[in-house]
Symmetry: C2
Subunit: 454 residues, 2 copies
Amino acid sequence: MKRKKFLLNEKDIPQAWYNVISDMKHKPSPLIHPSTKQPLEVEDLSPLFSKAASEQELNTTERWIEIPDEVRDMYRIWRPTPLVRAEGLEKFLDTPAHIYFKNESVSPVGSHKLNSAIAQAYYCKKEGVTNITTETGAGQWGAALSLAAKHFGLELAVYMVKISYNQKPYRRSIMQTYGAEVISSPSMSTKAGRKIITDNPTYQGSLGTAISEAVELAMSTPNCKYVLGSVLNHVALHQTVIGLEAEKQMEMAGEYPDVVIACFGGGSNFSGIAFPFLRHKLNGERPETRFVAAEPASCPKLTRGVFQYDFGDEAGYTPLIPMYTLGHNFCPANIHAGGLRYHGGGAIISQLKRDDYIEAVDIQQLDTFKAATLFARCEGIIPAPESSHAIAAAIDEALKCKVTGEKKTILFNLSGHGLIDMTAYDRYFANDLTNYEVTPEDIAKTTKDLEKIL
Amino acid sequence: MKRKKFLLNEKDIPQAWYNVISDMKHKPSPLIHPSTKQPLEVEDLSPLFSKAASEQELNTTERWIEIPDEVRDMYRIWRPTPLVRAEGLEKFLDTPAHIYFKNESVSPVGSHKLNSAIAQAYYCKKEGVTNITTETGAGQWGAALSLAAKHFGLELAVYMVKISYNQKPYRRSIMQTYGAEVISSPSMSTKAGRKIITDNPTYQGSLGTAISEAVELAMSTPNCKYVLGSVLNHVALHQTVIGLEAEKQMEMAGEYPDVVIACFGGGSNFSGIAFPFLRHKLNGERPETRFVAAEPASCPKLTRGVFQYDFGDEAGYTPLIPMYTLGHNFCPANIHAGGLRYHGGGAIISQLKRDDYIEAVDIQQLDTFKAATLFARCEGIIPAPESSHAIAAAIDEALKCKVTGEKKTILFNLSGHGLIDMTAYDRYFANDLTNYEVTPEDIAKTTKDLEKIL
């Protein structure tokens, strides 16, 4: 047997990001200003984000957006990443399907998040910004941005969701090793945080809350910008390097995916692997390709949320986003896939879901760890709890092929490794993890007043 | 600036390992049987090790030993590894030196240890072995062997040094995720462990003790072999893929190293990067190249040990090895670089040191973490505490060049990443780490009776 790993050269690192909106017939509805209730313009966004990110956020026409040399140079630290045929897994499952994964775990911080962190830090630096701030769930995004900020000489403060701050101390240490300041969220350092702590002293935090805190800090600090690791269009844009590389690599493998799968929190890695392949579906060349977002059953916005304008954060500081949402006050269970604990699906993905270009499945926590352990033993790589949702969904597809006898080609994104999530595995092996059910009543509680926001 | 990273193709993964002994004028003295006091033959070793490993251990004549296809195929999971010019570090140090590092941290378990784990597991499988056992210090070797054992369908029991078992629970979890059994050493499961626990109930373990336990288990279990991650000749042999790749990559860079540096515990990663370059010194082509082993000041066998026949383990089960040693009863301080807490230098390295082909330096714990933090911030990769010894030594060399103005080319091996060692970094940032001094009296205590062993 010769292991099938498909490697590109550095010159194959994409020269431009792919802007999927340019090819969508139904564009997402506009982002709305939370006070004026008017569609957002670049000048509304640019006090908060870098000007370049603000422009990218609202760019609905340009198909390709050039990647600056400084960004591509940093991509060279670990890109291009390998595409691997998971033959060990196929053999174990005894499936006729071919399973491929794009290995984004090889970055020095262990996940795909660096793809956008580098771009955003670069634009901030170029525009003369000195300080940046962000939120992080499991810590993957915060770790990536810490490295990028240090590289470009920016000071960084990270609000880290309290449950992860306590459950994943290693990721906190990683951020500190790169020189970032890390604050457990909710914190007493912001109005938004103080209110939440006062209302609910045992609250374990959420991405929505941490975003509120970071946004508040950015708005009240001179020469400070806010940087987001998912959800928004410009983040999805930066992540398309994943799928653009994978497209070339699938060509090397002589196959084209029948189904493309990624885990889904705010959409960054899903967009990254899916959009470049999706463009061939949008233009009618590949109408049959399926795209599957694998979300946690405990935070099922795409499968069970409502489509409404909603805030991106808990406190209501951000623009209003047209999206599938569980409500910005939805508090997801404390699953170990901290990066997927986000209430909304973002504007692009939600529109694509409405138009049936993509599907979503929800996966229970215990199924993700079962899939993760199997993958580690078959393929040698211990996956992040987030990425394990994609693995579980890929295994489901492969097992369906076993029943039908179909030789489908399945591609999933391994968004990160789990070497810093071993306490979660420990708990799984100790039978100390559980599944979580979200009832229609839970969802109704946090979505019932959403239509009144606008 | 264009980042200088030198990548090879899969076809450049070496076809054969390099056996340095074949080129040594003064061969190491033979391994001695602990009971008969006679030089060891293959049949003395093969009850304990696989036959292939036993033959490789005593092979002093063949220069190149073919790498089996099954082993090369598994190498493809992550090999070839990149060679990187550390321009960020050079710039920070403001040195005229060129610093390169071979990045062995990209393996799925985060270190170079897989290079030998795969080979040894393969040979055991091929010879019909069903169970294997080993020891591990920080857990890098144990994690690597767990993956390799699972791949080849072998049951594995790992004795993990107690201090690391407690300090580095993530590495224990990694081994368990791959399906291995992990036992804290000293344990009550072996005679050797029981004796040590009885004599010294608070003993935190050492590699020497863990080796005793693993050897005892292997000798008393049917169809079970012992597998070692360092010190012995065949392990050094397997690691030469590192230096063989690096040699081609330095050619791509258009330079040849003036000094080759690696951290030193039992010699596996040092041998791996050094021996392929050393062959050009042994044959007179490159007489000026320096080779520097960077060992911890708390375990200074090459810089301050005695050259004697000594056991490889605490209990005296292993063959007697002619080497620089601190005595098999030497108990190193509880530094975080657990993989370097070994009392002896191995036969090949010790002979090369006697013959002045290689040098050694000892590095204090605080200096290693200072170097590690600087490296992380300049190059983006958080190094393992072990590898940080090599970084500290490389920085010393680069700073000497700054004084003299010499444009030396420095190559070091980044043997592993530190993402699973973040508690150590936490303690460093909290000023909770210390240096350790070893006095001549300490060393005299554990070396005074060594000459009586033979």
